[in-house]
Symmetry: C2
Subunit: 394 residues, 2 copies
């Protein structure tokens, strides 16, 4: 049976969660506003808030005058109640960042890695963890959790498949847990970047959205009804391998005509070369040059890319009916900065009228460094969900 019972304690937890989430996500709020927004009674709000303050999760933060009467006291989540750490595992480096609960970066550590074996990665993440804790001068007990973002399919905190790293079935959370007492969460990198954009970037306020990431490859994070949608087995969002040109270009996944083969930077540059263009050196530099070129075949290639990307967007618009599509990834941002308006117009040509009219297409706001930030929200999500109940003392 999928539905769970409710007990009187769930009620408490649930209401603590509602209040804490409200305070965290909608800025400083007064008890008064909380009673209105949660439709709890003033008595209960006061009661719950008192509990949260006593535990140190919430603190009073000044007051705001009311219309002649007693001023309301503003409440916020105490930024230094606990800290969270986010880690981004890339092919060539591991980045670890420590944040307070207001998500201010307090310390950062980068480790280049030569060969991204699980052992190497675990070692560097744990080292990074120690480094940032030491650098920020806090106690390790103060760290609520460590979120790790990896480019690959992550199911139940274990890597199922991470092609770029060459990993398969790596129980990353377990390996990390052997080296630290801090609770570890592992998730997919695209989802984490999406999460960061949804909370702090261009996705704020949306409940049904897609964060589309175009880099050398192409991926996306789906958000449905306010939370990340992962599908039956955690691999939803593989937008890059959607067939868009039946029988078209060969994609590195083996199939023909995938979106990635047309709009991923690698695919774009490849098409450019085939059309007679020259693209040397660093992929990113070459991509910028292509975008800035005003001669053929560059302009055609760029225009075609916009068209293909638009079709990919339109497929999302039709199938998922999001209220917002957030375009990111280094190549996506470069393309979007120059051609967002054309892209919007092209999407309109491929999408159905109604869902197209309901979607807004915008650019990512946080840049690609936000992956660690997104990963660091994992422990925060848990804190909010559990109504501020801190994991048992270790």
């Amino acid at each position: 049976m999928e539905v769970r019972r409710t007990t009187v304690r769930d009620m408490r937890r649930s209401n603590r969660s509602v209040i804490l989430t409200g305070i965290y996500r909608e800025g400083p709020l007064s008890r008064q506003e909380l009673t209105v927004r949660t439709s709890l009674s003033a008595a209960s709000v006061s009661n719950l808030v008192a509990e949260l303050i006593a535990e140190g999760v919430v603190e009073e933060a000044g007051s705001v005058e009311s219309e002649g009467g007693r001023p309301r006291v503003l409440l916020r989540v105490a930024p230094t109640f606990r800290y969270v750490v986010g880690a981004e595992v890339g092919e060539t480096r591991v980045r670890v960042e420590l944040f307070d609960l207001a998500m201010n970066v307090l310390a950062r550590a980068d480790h280049p890695i030569a060969t991204p074996t699980p052992e190497e990665v675990v070692k560097h993440v744990l080292e990074g963890l120690s480094t940032v804790i030491a650098a920020s001068g806090i106690q390790s007990e103060q760290v609520l959790g460590l979120g790790v973002a990896v480019a690959g399919v992550v199911e139940d905190n274990a890597i199922v498949d991470a092609q770029t790293l060459g990993w398969e079935a790596v129980p990353l959370a377990r390996l990390l847990a052997e080296g630290t007492d801090i609770p570890v969460h592992v998730d997919n990198g695209a989802n984490m970047l999406g999460q960061a954009e949804m909370w702090f970037g261009a996705g704020r306020g949306a409940t049904d959205a897609v964060v589309a990431l175009v880099g050398s490859g192409v991926g996306s994070a789906l958000v449905a009804g306010g939370s990340s949608y992962r599908g039956a087995r955690s691999s939803a969002g593989e937008w890059g391998h959607m067939t868009i040109v039946y029988g078209g270009r060969q994609c590195r996944c083996g199939a023909l005509g995938c979106l990635e083969a047309y709009v991923g930077a690698e695919g774009v540059l490849d098409r450019y070369r085939l059309a007679g263009g020259t693209a040397d050196g660093d992929e990113e530099t070459a991509f910028v040059e292509l975008l800035e070129s005003t001669t053929e075949p560059a302009t055609t290639i760029v225009n075609d890319t916009i068209g293909y990307l638009a079709a990919g967007f339109a497929n999302l618009v039709n199938l998922v009916n999001p209220e917002r599509i957030v375009l990111g990834g280094w190549a996506g941002l470069l393309l979007g900065e120059k051609h967002l308006e054309e892209l919007r117009v092209e999407v309109g040509k491929h999408a159905l009228r109604r869902p197209y009219a309901q979607v807004s297409i915008v650019l990512c706001e946080l840049g690609r460094d936000a992956v660690a930030l997104g990963a660091a929200t994992l422990p925060v999500v848990r804190l909010l969900r559990d109504g501020g109940a801190v994991p048992l003392p270790r």
Copy 2:
């Protein structure tokens, strides 16, 4: 604030809902099994069940011997506690069916309609409603609700857009409510067929699935995490207008290369004719003939259709990562009955390895008459959600 408070009454309602849903969806259950499945205490289960029995929603249905002790009494939702009515609004007819809570059909009424204006449809649905109530000899107070399925986008019980009927912004639920006291629910036809398959057909047991419907046109119903996914504004699932051949055939939606233009029966026959085949008369007959033909160009057309459909499925597999895809619609069934295995193989060529390995592709079990059945589940869904609380007396 999206999250709602929880009060002591919500707890009761929620637990009633858990128990009632358990009894309804997982066949006759004993109190004993309910305590295990819901993890509620035996005392509470007994208490809640007693309440439900007193209200008449649940009844005892025989007993089953236990291992030497007192036999457990089986519980079921009383099939005749209330009744539900489902209506299917098509272009040429309105079908209304009355069911008991076990979803046995007790009466049926069909009305052909000449021109499907809203007035005409409202009139025939209401007439059908009276007819089935009279024919089954129950009181109209006994009818829990009327579910209406319409081919079009339905938002908040009102038709937003129904191209096949030529409707726009028709407040269908309101119009119907003017003619009856029975609570009215309106929803999209594809979703209702999907709902029927999910509850009673090939989708049973799945929580993340897609019901793909291929008829003259192409549509789908998405099911995410156990319930229908509708997107930001109720138009999710427009799978038919996914671009699959960039710059390809013109679709009736105006765009180029939509899936529907390749695998919808109309599109298939059109491609057949363009390839030199002859397809006369009734669309369905022609389609059957095409499928049965063993000569060129028929076989090529059929093979190509399987390929295109497979690419469409693969796009679903990659993007949504469902555990099951249920193929239906008259053309989909005809095609699937002969070529399901080829289809599965072709999907494997377009989809990513992992999500492909996790999905099972099966055929609809209920036939196209299940739309009214699906619509009739709408009031049942509400009954279960509210824990058996019946709407206020009218």
